[in-house]
Assembly symmetry: C2
Homo-oligomer: 183 residues x 2
């Protein structure tokens, strides 16, 4: 006699599909990013997070929170990106123990070059396959899951600030009112 | 003048939520699996895949495909599970170069012990947060995405065959007609 609430057919279908996409999609996206721009998905995420922050810089502690990388893994990650010329570490003047990761001119250029292709990949491998109702359900459902698990919501904007610049040269946060068919 | 089809508001919401859950959920599930049963999520997946195969064994090439682990990473993974007594590698008699990963009695016991708790975690951190329509949209949408990316659909059944045994002692494939509220 068991009290386990096993997954039903629909749930199993959803869970298997979730696991498969989770295993496959990042690899595909990263392969393309890497081939075209020598970036990993984590590089891209760091560039996006930093570029969306005031003055193109973000505290390492906040970056660690947003990327879900441990302090030591993030330090390794940022060291690698520093050597590639994409970011620099600077000291927070008001907190001697605090460090920022700051976007370089080159990092900003690389992000602006990479963003259109990455968004196009995300579209091809994800959104173009989903209908509007599925996108809405994913957005609402996964937002609820993410909030339950307790994550900061301000992460992972695929568009990157490159969109703002491409559109009108403005500095700004990741735009929420973007026109998907803009040209 | 750009032809980039930037993500619209709904798509950005869905994509951010996707990235967050993808980053957070596996860690949470794995922490619990590890704490209770000293298993990683990949260990669990391998146990499920092998247990669902005929005679509790699966060709390494097929397992590599299903887990999306490279040949060398899978070899390392299976070596670790062999040392833990969960699986053994055996030679395919009809193909001298072929190898199987085969479930041990202990591996089967561990999977049966771990499955109810894991399914309960998946429920708590995922399905219990979603409504029926969201589950259906996830199942259909992510299945289409997985198929487009080209994955074998027969992976990642959270229930594991432990369900079959718990219910009626039968051997069988991961059941699709399970009663979620069974007790």
């Amino acid at each position: 006699m068991s009290t386990t609430r096993w997954l039903n057919e629909n749930e199993q279908g959803a869970w298997r599909a979730w696991l498969e996409v989770m295993r496959l999609l990042p690899n595909h996206l990263e392969d393309r990013l890497h081939e075209r721009h020598d970036l990993t998905l984590t590089d891209y995420q760091v560039l996006v997070e930093v570029s969306e922050s005031a003055e193109h810089r973000l505290r390492m502690t906040e970056l660690s929170h947003r990327t879900q990388l441990s302090k030591s893994r993030l330090s390794h990650q940022i060291g690698r990106m520093e050597r590639a010329g994409l970011v620099v570490r600077t000291q927070c003047p008001d907190d001697r123990r605090g460090q920022w990761a700051e976007l370089t001119e080159q990092g900003w250029t690389v992000l602006r070059e990479a963003a259109p292709g990455h968004v196009s990949d995300v579209r091809e491998l994800f959104f173009d396959i989903l209908d509007e109702q599925q996108v809405a359900a994913l957005a609402a459902g996964l937002r609820a899951v993410a909030d339950k698990i307790g994550m900061n919501p301000a992460t992972g904007c695929a568009n990157a600030r490159a969109e703002m610049v491409e559109r009108n040269g403005a500095e700004g946060a990741c735009p929420d009112s973007a026109n998907p068919d803009g040209d």
